[in-house]
């Protein structure tokens, strides 16, 4: 394998073109074409019926709630809603697909031609939406007996059809050129924005870790002024961070191949969380011919314009509006707000403020210390083992003078380690600010005695020199003193 280029080298020579396909499981009560429950986590094959098991003779009936949810998504993505649309069969054999065809949409999707705008590093990127269509999910196959959990080497395969037939919305972007070095961030920002839009509509829980939002990342490279290159499709990239990493990796990999004069194969690739790399799956050039044709078991759908307008009127506040509202409420500048959005911290900060924290405190923790921790452990911020309520509690303790920043960071250690709430951690670890003025005054006296030259400077009016004494007091109190209080005592004594 050719040695990878650095990302910077790659984007200096090539222009990436992105394309994103996102699958979102709707959280309708029942499946797309039958009355079975869609609840997550039931015993295998308990949420099935003749229709979703594809027993001979069974017929589908489309779920109106799923059609409605898809139209809402389309409207929120600025799409045109079809006035005549139908389902189509996508034919291929796979054991987790009971009919051996997927009921999907082909030439007549429910929604078309929309866009989403995302802001990355102060620049607005418009991602055009090609189509939003409705289809059904497949079951899940579990390969048993091998070492990898993949079909290769397995002795048996078990299929769970509970997921088979859950409504799935597929959102496909048009190719996104012109993002340059920001391609990974744009891909991530788009996915996050899409997720937030769908969540705001209340039609899916869009949890990437549960697979209710799944991303396929298409990427090609071309030299400036040349035609677009051959694209690869990296499948099932299942976190925001992975979307970014997958783009970054493909840019580096493809550029190295192109530099070496090799060609890019149109293929699907798998993303590996552990290494951040992609590896080839099946090649599209020998791919299945899906033999699409209109689904004869389902009636054509003609969403009335009145219905569409009703749905449009019922749309809730969309993320962009909400962000504008929150930015004003939190008194943040554009750049600061953008950092909040990029860190995926809007919900977290909102919840933290709702739990009683000042906006400034909430922003400070989530963007500062907690973002740093998430980065260190390679986790999403939302996955950290600390809740907005706990962060609000922590900030409350700081506001009350019970913790200083240094102690608060130690309290965070304890909370993340599962030792309990901030108050419990502070109590258990003995992390409270020393507020006993007598003890502090003694420590200050000691510090003055040990640093007579510094004390003289302060007496001479150089208040900045107090830092040395404060440092000494903090050391003596193992950091558990409130720096402002100590400073005040020092100045009182030396002026």
């Amino acid at each position: 394998m050719t040695k990878l280029n650095t990302f910077e080298q790659a984007v200096a020579t090539y222009e990436p073109v992105l394309g994103l396909e996102t699958h979102i499981e709707l959280d309708t009560a029942t499946k797309m074409f039958c009355g079975c429950s869609t609840a997550f986590g039931a015993e295998p094959n308990t949420q099935v019926c003749p229709v979703c098991l594809a027993l001979p003779g069974a017929l589908p009936v489309a779920n109106r709630a799923a059609v409605e949810a898809t139209i809402k998504i389309g409207l929120a993505l600025n799409c045109t809603i079809a006035s005549w649309t139908r389902f189509a069969r996508k034919n291929y054999f796979y054991p987790d697909m009971p009919k051996n065809f997927q009921t999907s949409q082909y030439e007549e999707p429910l929604c078309e031609n929309g866009y989403v705008e995302v802001v990355v590093e102060g620049e607005v990127h418009r991602v055009e939406i090609e189509r939003v269509h409705l289809e059904e999910d497949t079951g899940k196959t579990l390969h048993v007996g091998g070492t990898t959990g993949r079909i290769h080497g397995a002795t048996e395969s078990l299929v769970d059809y509970n997921r088979a037939g859950i409504p799935l919305v597929e959102i496909v972007t048009k190719p996104v050129p012109g993002t340059g070095a920001l391609a990974p961030e744009v891909a991530r920002a788009y996915t996050a924005e899409l997720r937030d839009i769908v969540r705001s509509l209340g039609v899916s829980d869009v949890r990437m870790e549960q697979g209710s939002l799944r991303c396929d990342v298409n990427l090609s490279l071309n030299r400036p002024g040349e035609e677009w290159g051959t694209r690869t499709e990296t499948k099932n990239v299942n976190s925001l961070r992975s979307v970014e990493r997958a783009v970054r990796y493909e840019v580096r990999r493809q550029s190295a191949l192109l530099d070496a004069g090799e060609r890019i194969f149109q293929e699907t690739r798998h993303f590996h969380e552990a290494t951040g790399e992609t590896s080839p799956g099946r090649s599209k050039e020998e791919a299945t011919d899906y033999r699409y044709f209109p689904e004869p078991d389902l009636a054509v759908m003609e969403p009335s314009r009145e219905w569409v307008e009703e749905l449009r009127a019922s749309l809730p506040e969309l993320p962009r509006k909400r962000r504008e509202r929150l930015q004003a409420a939190w008194s943040l500048g554009d750049k600061e707000m953008q950092s909040v959005v990029n860190a995926d911290a809007v919900d977290l900060i909102e919840a933290t403020v709702a739990a009683g924290s000042s906006p400034a405190g909430a922003v400070k923790w989530w963007l500062g210390e907690l973002s740093r921790r998430a980065n260190e452990s390679g986790e999403e911020l939302t996955a950290l083992a600390i809740t907005p309520a706990q962060v609000a509690e922590l900030q409350g303790m700081v506001d009350d003078g019970r913790l200083n920043d240094k102690l608060a960071r130690q309290v965070i250690d304890g909370v993340l380690a599962g030792e309990g709430s901030p108050a419990e951690v502070a109590a258990a670890r003995g992390l409270e600010v020393v507020s006993d003025t007598g003890a502090l005054e003694a420590a200050v006296e000691e510090a003055i005695a040990a640093n007579p030259a510094v004390a003289d400077k302060i007496r001479g009016g150089t208040h900045a020199a107090a830092g040395v004494l404060i440092g000494a007091v903090m050391k003596a109190t193992k950091g558990q003193a409130d720096a402002a209080t100590v400073r005040q005592i020092i100045l009182d004594k030396l002026s």
């Binding site: 594809a54 001979p56 003779g57 069974a58 009919k99 011919d289 044709f293 004869p296 078991d297």
Partner: protein
């Protein structure tokens, strides 16, 4: 005639309701007839004596208790094996479903059970309803009760032969290109393919989803109409089901039986009389004699042109196999039915292939291959796509015709029952059996076949085609034609050899 099995369903229902016969007596008579005759005719794949008698006993108890009963309560019925019956083996005459016991009932079976018709059993057919002779059953051939050296038509040869041999007064068939009407014609029975969407397809093992239609098989139009009304009506589980009132077919059959067709305008399709694929002379003679009778009853006959009908057969053999290739993909050995070659060493793909290789017969494979080809990239527009356009033209031909006439008539099938093996060597010769019935399926309207006469001692059927949801006119014309027969043609079948 004094035997129970010679009575029509309408007569039997009245006898049961009014206490002259019990349903157990009636059901037993047909079960006994099956025991006596079906060793020869082989119309049934499965007989459910206990189940049928249990329902019969329920009906008798209800009669004794003075309960209100449906118009066919207690009259037994046979069901084509392509219709799913809870707890009763359902195979579509395919090895791939051998031993499968459905956990649910088709909507039409639910309705038959609700109307308390004892179910005698499941009838033989061409595998997955693909064929015109029942020779493609994976289990055995069914013989024509009129001449046991000849085919009983297909795909519903079992249902037609059961009714023709008086093993059942009524049967359920399904019609995708003629599978109710053509067996009716060649066995001297009545068969109706209702308007597409008029009868639920839920629980009908799919062959071609946009064409399949379940309907009644009987000895006369009134019996067929009575069964039609039992199974018809909107079904929310079938989204192609029409939400409209059921056409008044029983009333129409009664009206037709009065023998008055004055004011009824019937169209003869010009294109059916032309070309190399035209009907046998004996069939044409019987059909033309039928036309004369219709005229005597007061009908006006006009010639209408339906130029696209010429393309109906090739169009059908693109659309139906295309849909079938997808509908039959589910038979893969993973969830139910046959699984072949699973020795623990083979891959899933190999097991799927071996299962389908072993489980499907030659005609089914032929159509899966045809359909897969017609839908494949690079060909789909020229084949499947073009066929859909022609289908639209055929519909338009019908719609134009029904601006001029109330119904169209034709022979049901170009030839009388042929001898076994006569057409299995050349698929096209077999496909010609549905030449006159296929246009109706492409259009979605109703069509019935009613016995009109004999040729070479074998029955000939006349087809009546109506507009969408105009099922009633087809029954009226058929019943009127029957009124000209002193003895119902269906009752003139010779007794089966060796009985």
């Amino acid at each position: 005639m004094s035997r129970i099995i010679d009575k029509t369903a309408a007569e039997l229902a009245a006898d049961i309701r009014e206490g002259r016969l019990t349903s157990v007596e009636v059901t037993t008579a047909f079960l006994d007839r099956i025991a006596a005759v079906d060793g020869t005719v082989k119309a049934f794949l499965h007989v459910d004596r206990d189940g049928a008698l249990a329902t019969a006993a329920e009906v008798d108890a209800a009669v004794a208790a003075g309960e209100e009963l449906g118009p066919l309560a207690g009259v037994p019925v046979a069901i084509k094996d392509v219709v799913v019956t809870k707890g009763l083996p359902t195979t579509a005459a395919s090895k791939i479903l051998e031993g499968w016991i459905p956990p649910y009932d088709a909507t039409i079976v639910e309705r038959i059970k609700a109307a308390k018709l004892p179910i005698l059993g499941k009838t033989n057919m061409d595998e997955f309803a693909m064929g015109s002779s029942t020779e493609y059953s994976a289990y055995f051939k069914t013989l024509n009760p009129w001449d046991t050296g000849r085919i009983p038509g297909g795909s519903g040869g079992g249902s037609a032969a059961a009714v023709a041999a008086k093993m059942a007064p009524l049967a359920i068939g399904t019609d995708t290109g003629g599978s109710i009407r053509q067996p009716g014609a060649v066995t001297g029975t009545f068969g109706a393919k209702p308007t597409y969407g008029g009868n639920s397809r839920y629980g009908l093992i799919a062959f071609s989803s946009s064409l399949d239609t379940p309907g009644p098989v009987s000895r006369n139009a009134l019996d067929g109409a009575l069964l039609h009304e039992v199974i018809s009506g909107h079904d929310p589980r079938d989204s192609t089901s029409i939400d409209a009132p059921v056409p008044p077919v029983v009333e129409a059959a009664r009206l037709g039986a009065t023998g008055d067709l004055s004011g009824v305008k019937l169209g003869v399709v010009k294109e059916f009389k032309e070309g190399a694929d035209a009907a046998e002379p004996g069939v044409i003679a019987a059909y033309e004699a039928g036309i004369e009778q219709l005229v005597e009853l007061g009908a006006e006959i006009v010639e209408v042109s339906c130029p696209s009908f010429t393309y109906a057969l090739p169009t059908y053999y693109l659309i139906a196999p295309s849909e079938a290739s997808s509908n039959l993909a589910r038979y893969d050995g993973v969830r139910y039915g046959l699984r072949a070659g699973d020795d623990g060493k083979k891959s899933l793909e190999e097991v799927m292939s071996l299962t389908r290789e072993a489980g499907f017969g030659p005609e089914v494979k032929r159509r899966i291959i045809l359909g897969t080809y017609a839908l494949s990239a690079g060909y789909v527009d020229a084949f499947y796509g073009k066929a859909q356009k022609v289908r639209t033209l055929i519909k338009q031909d019908f719609e134009r015709a029904f601006e001029q006439v109330d119904a169209l008539i034709s022979p049901t099938t170009p030839f009388i029952a042929f001898e076994f093996g006569a057409r299995t060597g050349d698929p096209y010769q077999m496909y010609l059996a549905d030449l006159y019935t296929i246009p109706t399926n492409m259009y979605g309207g109703p069509g019935v076949s009613v016995p009109v006469g004999l040729s070479e001692g074998m029955p000939v059927g006349l087809q009546v085609m109506g507009p969408v949801l105009g099922d009633d006119i087809t029954y009226r014309v058929a019943a009127a034609l029957e009124s000209t027969q002193d003895v119902l043609l269906a009752d003139t079948a010779p007794e089966i050899e060796g009985i």
